[in-house]
Subunit: 139 residues, 2 copies
Amino acid sequence: MLMGRFDYTVDSKSRANFPSKFRNEMGDVLYVTKWFDKCLVAYGKEQWDKLDSRFDDMPTVQAKDMLRVLYGNAVELVPDKQGRILLPQYLKDHAGITKDIVVIGARSYAEIWDKEAYEEHQRNTDFAAIERKLIDMEF
Amino acid sequence: MLMGRFDYTVDSKSRANFPSKFRNEMGDVLYVTKWFDKCLVAYGKEQWDKLDSRFDDMPTVQAKDMLRVLYGNAVELVPDKQGRILLPQYLKDHAGITKDIVVIGARSYAEIWDKEAYEEHQRNTDFAAIERKLIDMEF
DNA sequence: GGAAATGCGCCCACTTTTAACCACTTTTTT
DNA sequence: AAAAAAGTGGTTAAAAGTGGGCGCATTTCC
């Protein structure tokens, strides 16, 4: 179960750290692609395969725009011995990543944010609405 | 059943005590995350798993904002031999914790407050409104 | 086609943070 | 009053994070 927040910086060689706690759980291959709300997702192999299989019996024509986003932007990354990954430019662009990043755990996957964008998103989050959602599911 | 109020201070290494009475009941792993009203929640493993399982068959896109708040800010904490926990900075920031904290029991979970914020919140508590709520639910 | 340049993986060294210990004081219990 | 439990403080060791150097491969330019 992935959880927590981890702050890192992209170094001069454009490498970024990835939480060791997450790596232990996700295995040594990460699948990273564009995600909603100006951030990136990272899946471990197992979870990625699960996601992948959901397209098995989806009609191609119906799936094509989703495939373009999800698969067309996906990369398979292997962290180096220190646990760092190298994000391709187009993914960094999507998330607005320049220097400071935030990696958060979200149960079965991780999200990678530009720190500034993350905090902006936090400020704009309607906590009361989330609280109502949780009440609705009788949390 | 968790109940009562316990006052502690965060030491120079930013460790904070956690009531031994609670630990006995909650087990030796705590799950702490952001909560509403400027405080933190702590769950024992059993309660956390119960909560966790409710996301099992919830569609990802629908759940993502709740996951971001709940899991993105959660930590799994194992108290040291003396029963202390180490809160990450982002959680302390959320609750406004600097030095003095208050831990209160709330039936199945515990809340962690900054002492000042807690007393402020107490002063602002509208007992009459709570009384009406209790009347409504035919308490 | 060959030499310089660039990018990237791999490794090593250093710093910082976190976890694990140990010792001691205070409070509670019997 | 003695013993046990709870709470506090500090030291040490391990792990995580960060920066940079080196070499190999591909690319680019002459």
